[in-house]
């Protein structure tokens, strides 16, 4: 048990616990906060994978943007929070069975896979350079097309979100 492994186990437990809380908390806002914690845990995992860029981006995008959006959404739909009905629907038991089945299936299918036990050595510093990723995204021979398509997707989502959520004057009751 190296310190890293201990750290990983702690992080994993935190992530799993907060994920479980996020999907099962009665209050939506608590759910969102647990979700934030889970995301921070994932960011730590990223950092452990020596992808510090992704760790920071994870915080920036998920915590700084998506989580805040979700909390906004929760707050804007507060009236629905106050009804005290069941927060999860009837299919809980069935779903639990299914999910356990899926998880078992995943474990089973991973069982015999050879690179599963792979370990690795620390990366040299030139592999950690964000610059090479940036260059890869602007190089037409590598990923500039996916990059452009992604940006178009983002733009479309931006416009679409504004359009959908825009409150039209004539629809006001």
């Amino acid at each position: 048990m190296t310190p890293m492994q201990i750290l990983f186990l702690i992080t994993g437990v935190v992530i799993l616990f907060s994920a479980v809380m996020a999907v099962s908390a009665r209050k939506m806002i608590h759910s969102a906060l647990w979700f934030v914690l889970a995301l921070l845990g994932v960011a730590v995992v990223f950092a452990m994978l020596e992808a510090s860029f992704f760790a920071v981006v994870q915080v920036l995008i998920y915590v700084g943007a998506i989580a805040i959006l979700i909390i906004f959404g929760v707050m804007l739909t507060r009236r629905a929070l106050e009804d005290n009905g069941k927060h999860i629907n009837r299919a809980t038991i069935t779903t639990t069975v299914i999910v356990i089945f899926v998880f078992a299936g995943l474990i089973y299918s991973l069982r015999l896979w050879v690179p599963l036990l792979a370990t690795t050595t620390p990366l040299s510093s030139d592999h950690l350079d964000v610059g090479s990723l940036g260059l890869a995204f602007t190089d037409p021979r590598q990923f500039s097309l996916p990059f452009e398509i992604t940006s178009v997707l983002l733009l479309a989502a931006l416009i679409g979100a504004i359009y959908i959520a825009y409150e039209r004057k004539d629809e006001k009751k």
């Binding site: 299914i98 089945f101 299936g105």
Partner: protein
């Protein structure tokens, strides 16, 4: 850039402005009468300018006939070769352009006035009928004045299209585009003759004109096809300027009448001309075409479209006369042309002599003059024919427009006096020279030119040239016939002048006739100028005294077209004296006979003197009746009996009914034997099965998204299990 604005492209663009005008008027601006005539005039004006530029360039080019300018492009692929279309300017085209441009522009301007632009809209006017006039209240009194044509814009659209077709015909360098222009003109002629379609006579005249010219066109198309199949080209230059082709055509024998191929094709094309230029025996449509508005008569049926027929023959003269040299005996095709032309000239002149409708006289006169040209071509007087074509276009356009002006003045009188008379009947006129001085003087110029008044009119020079040609080529029969026709021409010109302008007014309407507006008279003045002066471009060298002054420019210019060294017709005194005699004599005779008419009801003096013969002439030799009896009635009978009753009703309908009955029988059999039990049974069971299955599956489609998600997961798991256990994928 220079390529774009070169003369060559100017020639290509030359016919297009009127077409644009037509499209513009038809599609966009037909609501506005003012914009309509503006568009039409702009189109005609642009083409006119282009034509003048091209004409001046053509005239100043040395040896234009050897090096005509123009170009051709590939148009339709025909197997390995291309059907080319193109434009070409040679001397003949140049002079055609000259007179077409001038007459077309003049007639466009004239039309504005003729259709009463600026007058009020008549209360009772209807589209398709000539305007009845409007009532205007002024100073407490009600005036009847002329009213504007209801279909004003349509008129300008159609004549624009017509002008396009004429320009297209003139500038094309091949028979195909010429034929296209030719047929568009036929269509426009049909539409414009029937312009006042509310009148039954106009409708009939339009159909008559269309069908009659179509007969000629079919033969022309045959000639065209023959030419194409023999030579593989329709380009004028490749056929007519190629001695090899001409020689081949003139020496090879065709299967018909023992004519050479050149002769046969020439004959077929000539039949097209007979239709278009209203030569005997297809002349019957032209007088009836006078049902159209007068500018139409002037433009289509005097100056341009009928000239197109003559133009075709002139253009193909090298083919028709292939192998013939001046002085040789005429070849069969030329003989036919000479005979038909001369006969038509005399024959139409006799009818013209007896008509009372001012426009009909001119119509028969046109036929007669076109006969002159055909006859001239038939005897090989090529330049004379061209010359007469040009001068005739000007003075006949002038005469028609003048007659329109007279009719207009008379209509004004009729409206003013409320007298119910025909404003076109010459018997109702008289003494109009005081009322309509500008019209009179210009009309006088035109009439003198028509009758060949010596020296000062263009008609004299061109007609004299034809008579000399006939005399010198020693075709005495043709010469005598033409001379007689010239005499009659002068006679009926004098008759018309006397009846219309001289003497005293014979009706109230004539007393109150008034001069027409400047927009109508100024084209008359311009055309009168050409009717007088144009002849001086072609005074022959040998003419006493004057011949030394003038260089016979026209003959030289056109003469380039022929390979032979024939500049102008040989000249001698006998034809000169003859033409002087016939013109002056005819004029004097006509004036003497008709100066004494005092009242509209009076019998024609000639009828008094000649009676029966006169009446035959007046009935136009009964050609219309003969055609009616010979062709139309049998055709009707055949159509009724054979086509309708026997073939249509009995044979075709019977067969069809039989098939229908059979179909019904088979259908019934199929319905009860197969459709209902088998097909419907299967269909019903499928549908009820689907319905049942749908009822079962409907419960899954409940709109609850998590339900779907759960199902999807379940199915993925199941499929994965199947893949793993049964296919051993892992």
């Amino acid at each position: 850039m220079s390529q774009l604005f070169s003369l060559n492209s100017l020639v290509w663009l030359l016919p297009l402005p009127p077409l644009l005008g037509f499209a513009l008027i038809t599609l966009f601006i037909n609501r506005s009468k003012r914009s309509s005539h503006r568009a039409a005039l702009a189109g005609a004006g642009l083409s006119f300018l282009a034509s003048m530029i091209v004409f001046i360039k053509a005239v100043t080019t040395h040896a234009l006939a050897e090096n005509p300018f123009g170009s051709a492009i590939n148009w339709l692929p025909t197997g390995q070769t291309w059907l080319k279309i193109g434009v070409m300017i040679d001397p003949l085209t140049a002079v055609m352009l000259f007179f077409v441009a001038w007459t077309v522009l003049m007639i466009f301007i004239y039309s504005v006035g003729y259709h009463n632009f600026g007058q009020p809209v008549g209360a009772h006017d209807q589209p398709g009928l000539p305007p009845h006039g409007a009532e205007v209240k002024e100073h407490g009194k009600t005036h009847h004045v002329l009213s504007i044509e209801p279909l004003y814009s349509r008129f300008f659209a159609l004549i624009s299209l017509f002008a396009f077709a004429m320009y297209l015909l003139v500038v094309s360098d091949n028979l195909l585009t010429l034929y296209i222009g030719w047929e568009i003109m036929g269509l426009c002629s049909y539409l414009l003759i029937g312009f006042w379609y509310g009148k039954e006579s106009a409708r009939k005249a339009a159909i008559k004109a269309f069908i009659t010219t179509r007969i000629g066109d079919v033969f022309m198309l045959l000639g065209l096809a023959a030419l194409y199949s023999l030579t593989g080209t329709l380009s004028f230059k490749e056929i007519l300027s190629n001695p090899q082709v001409l020689g081949l055509l003139s020496t090879s024998l065709s299967p018909v009448f023992g004519l050479s191929w050149a002769g046969l094709i020439g004959l077929l094309l000539f039949i097209g001309t007979i239709g278009k230029s209203a030569q005997f025996p297809l002349h019957v449509w032209l007088p009836d075409a006078m049902e159209g508005p007068t500018p139409v008569s002037a433009m289509i049926h005097a100056a341009t479209m009928v000239s197109a027929g003559v133009y075709l023959v002139i253009r193909f003269f090298p083919l028709i006369s292939a192998g013939w040299l001046p002085g040789d005996p005429l070849n069969p095709t030329m003989t036919i042309m000479a005979v038909i032309g001369a006969f038509t000239a005399l024959f139409a002149a006799t009818i013209a002599m007896t008509q009372n409708d001012i426009k009909r006289v001119l119509a028969y006169s046109t036929i007669s003059q076109l006969g002159y040209m055909i006859a001239a071509l038939g005897i090989g007087a090529y330049t004379a024919a061209v010359f007469h074509l040009v001068t005739h276009a000007f003075f006949k356009a002038l005469l028609f427009l003048g007659s329109g002006s007279v009719i207009h003045g008379m209509e004004h009188g009729v409206l003013h006096t409320n007298e119910h008379i025909d404003p076109q009947d010459m018997r109702n006129m008289g003494g109009l020279r005081h009322k309509m001085p500008r019209t009179f003087w210009t009309y006088l110029a035109g009439a003198l030119a028509l009758s060949g008044f010596p020296l000062i009119t263009a008609g004299f020079w061109s007609k004299d040239e034809i008579l000399s040609g006939a005399f010198n080529s020693s075709n005495m029969i043709v010469f005598i016939t033409l001379a007689a026709a010239a005499l009659l021409t002068a006679f009926y010109s004098a008759r018309q002048l006397s009846m219309v302008f001289l003497g005293e007014p014979r009706t109230e309407a004539a007393k109150h006739a008034s001069e027409t507006k400047p927009v109508m008279t100024s084209p008359l003045i311009i055309l009168a100028f050409f009717a007088i002066t144009l002849g001086w471009a072609g005074i022959p060298h040998e003419f006493p005294l004057l011949g030394k002054l003038s260089p016979a420019w026209f003959q030289e210019f056109i003469g380039q077209m022929l390979q032979t060294e024939q500049v102008s017709e040989g000249h001698s005194l006998i034809p000169l004296i003859t033409s002087l005699m016939v013109s002056l004599g005819g004029l004097a005779l006509g004036w003497l006979v008709y100066k004494g008419i005092r009242s509209a009801q009076q019998l024609d003096p000639m009828e008094k003197a000649f009676g029966f013969v006169f009446r035959i002439f007046q009935k136009k030799y009964g050609f219309d009746e003969m055609y009616e009896f010979l062709f139309i009635r049998p055709a009707h009978w055949l159509a009724e009996k054979l086509s309708y009753q026997i073939i249509d009703l009995t044979l075709i309908d019977g067969t069809l009914h039989g098939i229908a009955l059979l179909g019904v029988k088979i259908g019934k059999l199929l319905r009860f034997g197969f459709d209902l039990p088998v097909v419907n049974g299967i269909g019903d069971s499928v549908s009820s099965g689907t319905k049942g299955a749908g009822g079962l599956l409907r419960k899954m489609q409940n709109g609850k998204i998590q339900h779907y998600m759960g199902l999807a997961v379940v199915f993925i798991v199941v499929i994965t299990l199947i893949v793993v256990y049964f296919l051993h994928a892992f």
